[in-house]
Every structure is written in structure tokens, then in C-alpha cells.
Amino acid sequence: MSSLSIEQSNVIYRSSKKQMQGICNLPRDIKFDILSRLLVKDLCKFRCVSKHWCNLISNPTFLDFYHERSRDNPQILMMNDSKNDENEQQLIHLNSMDLDGKVGNELMKSIYGEYIDMLPSGHGLICLFYENHFYLYNPATQEFVSLVEGSLSPCNDHGAGFGYVMSTKEYKVVHMFTQSESSTGFNIGCEILTLSNGDEASSRPWRVIDQCCPYVVTGCALLVNNVFYWTRADKHGNSSDYDLILALDLEEENFRTIHLPNPRSYDEENYMFLVELRGFLCLVDNFAIPPMMNIWMLKDANNITWVKEYSIRFDILDGFDDVYTIVTPLLYHNEEIVVDSDQDSLHYYNFEKESFRRGKRLNMQWDTNQTWERPLRKTRLSLYTESFFSLGSR
């Protein structure tokens, strides 16, 4: 009979004597493991438990470990708004919860704007904006900050975007605006706001980049690997040219276009948008007949190589209605694609089983004044990850 080697026996040597005293004597990486299963708000409370716990929960190594792990455990943010008819304020109601529908934090804010757009980053922060008014929210810490106003723009039908750059650990907000008007037309300027952890977000400045935006883009940009992407790019005045994606490279600060995947049967009924899956830019092509979602992945952003990565029939999705349902993939998680189909729960598409499963029922709000045949969901959803990222307001 043999014993385990010296190395193997020494692994737990230091905790063997004090097993009965439990938690404080566990190895550091086990403490990390246990604590990383808790929400940010709880962990910040637990800094008050003891000096040791305070040091542990403020340790940069722990925070890195925590953030890496929380990326595998996305949470849901639900947003409801109600308009105050007397002024142009919206009362925003933000609710966090986990994928099981277990309720987390809640925040109510009154902010200016007729229709507030929600820009998730795919990470810890959410951006809300209306015209040139921008706000940042960390659902985990409930820190809510309004940014310096962006440039005023006579025409507000331009794009904005928000995202997280993993390599530099910065958040970036981008805003397009009409720069000047003359008899020959107008320029579309582009300004960027950069935010690092602990910066006082409310005083961060916008920086206008040198290059003007060569295309009119509408809608929100998606940030993937330090590049912002928009669909629906068309040259000034030419409304027929919808076959391009506009890319803003944040490192070079220049614009270029990317053609859509070929072949692609385009027809007016299609609903096309961009999403990030597994670290790649993806183009989602929703067809009406047959009800199908093709997801093209930009495998090589430099040589512009598109691969049709997934084809998913969504007539097998319960609750699907080919007139009203818009299926939005949110992220790739545990080898499934999580989609939002405007119902009262999320659905998960499993590639092996080639079927959807329904997630837990979430408490959503529905439009009671609507005149459509099918109730429209008022609540807007996005995913976020628990993060300690500080907006510098506390």
C-alpha cells in the first residue's frame, strides 16, 4: 500500500488541523470559489465582516477571478418606462434578476427623453440615451450616472453605440451627430467617450474624432473586439444601398465598410441585425418564409470572411407567430443560444436537440392599450454580468 506523494499530501496540510474552524482556514482559491458565487452587492456588504474578508474582497486577483466567472453567469436587466405627460421626463424602472427569474436589485429614475434607448454592453454596464443625453447604469451596484451631454445635432436620426473593450478594460460610448449644415449638405461627426474603472463618469469628456462618418447610419452600434459596427449604412441621400455594414475601428479611429455575406437572398420582409456571439460579430438574418434564422459569423474581420454558422428554424419555437414575432439572439451560453422572442420568458436553443426550451417565466409588463391582435410586450430586456465597475459617483 502506498501513500499519496509528498506534494499531494502537502496540498491541504495547512488546513488539516483546523477543519472544525471552517471557513477562514480554507485555501485561498477555495475562498475565491465560494465568494465568486455571490452577487456584488452582497460581497460589498461582506467587506464589513472582518479585515481579512475586506482584504479578500478588495484583492485585484479576486476581482479579476470574479469578473471572469460572472461572464459565464449572465443576469437579466428588465426595463419599464412610463411617461410623465406634463414634461418630457420618463420614469424608468430597472429590475435585475438571474436567469431563474430570482429578483435582484431594483432602481427607479426619472430621466429626460421621449423614448429612451437601451444599449447593453454585453458586460457590466448598461447605457441609456435619448438624443444627446446619455446615462450609465451598473445593475450590480445600482450606481446610476448621467454623462456630459453629447454634441447637439439638428438631426437626431444617427447612431450611438456602447461596449466594453476587454483588452483595455474600458467602456466606450460612441455618438454620431450632424456636424455642420450648408447648401451642399452636412457632415456627420463622430465623438467617443472612454471610461475606465473608478473614473468619475459624470465628468468624462467626449472627444470628436478627425474622420467624419461617410455614411448615414441609424440604430445602435455593436462593439466587438475594439470595433463598432452598424447596419443600414447608406451613402448620403442614397436610400437604396442597404448592403453594407459600417465599421469604426477604435484603434485607428477610421471608418470602413463591410459587405454583407454572399449569397444572401434579400427581401423586404427580412429583419436583419447584428449581435455578438462567442466573441465574433454575427449578422442575424430572419426570414419570413420558411421561418428561419440564419446567423452569419464574421470569422475574419480583416479579410471579411463570413461563415453561415447557424441555421435555426423558429416555427418550432412555442409562442412563435410569423407576423409579430421578432426573435433576437442575446448571447451564446452553455452551448445554447439564448433568444428573446418578446414573450414572458427567454428561450434557449439547443443545437444537439435542435429544439428550444423555455426559461423561467419573468414578470413582464404588457401594453394594455394596444390594438394589435396579440399583446405587445412593454418590458425591454437585456443581459448584463455582475461587475464591481465603479462609475466614480460614490
Binding site: S3, M20, Q21, K45, V49, S50
Partner: protein
Amino acid sequence: MSSSRIITLTSSDEVAFDVDEAVAFESQTIKDAFGDDRADNGTLLPNVTSKILSKVIEYCNMHVEARKFEERSGFDEELKAWDADFVKVDQGTLFGLVDAANYLNIKGLLDLTCQTVAEQIKGKTPEEIRRTFCIKRYFTPEEEEEVRRENQWAFE
């Protein structure tokens, strides 16, 4: 197909447990140590008491058996329920299991026990945590006040 051997695991208090190789190999540590070496058939575990080791073996037995029924519907829920019952133990035993799962590198058991400890911590106030786990503050009053102030938002 060769017959699987029996491996004898001996606890720190010198109690010997005979387990099937398949069950023992739920521990990556044991699997690595024994591997293809067919001469050895037992080992001493100086860091695991018999009380804990018998629980660990119970877990491994169940999970090896359970794999035969993976395809059965409702199976997942049954196993989860069994796991939930399995960790209804006193604090000392729970931490003993965390330690043992880490030392023996049994991924499922480590995950289960760490999650259980996390659930016990969740929702408690700092004072409750101190009492439950016998933790001393080691803060000076000024330090404690500062930490509390910096994280006051978390208490609201």
C-alpha cells in the same frame, strides 16, 4: 474486458474502506496517482477522517451509479434532490467535505459543497456571518467605520 480492481482507501484515523476502482477514480487525485499502475491497490489519506471519507465515498458511489440512468427523464431532478439532501450536514462536516473534495479533486462534490456554503452566506448580515462562522473582526473601530461608509450603498 478486465475486471476492475478494488482500491483500499485508509483514513487518517486508520479506518480502511474498500471501493471499486470506478468509484475511487471519481477523485482525479487518486486516478492520477494510480493510473495504469496495477501493482498498487490502496492508499493512505492522511488528511481525511473516516467520517468525511465515508461521506465522500457515498457521494462517489451515487454519482457513478447515476451515470447509468442519465437518459431517463426526470433523472436530473432526482439526482439534484439527492445532492441537496447529501449536504444537509453540520458546518464542520460541510467544511470537511469542501476540504476533501479539493484535496481529492472531485469536481462535482467541490462544486456542490462550495455552492452550499455560498447559499449559507447569501442574505446574511455581516454580524450573522461572524456569528455563524466564528469570525473575529480584527478591525479597529476607525477602519470598520470607513469600510462601512464606503460600502453603505450595499446596505440600502
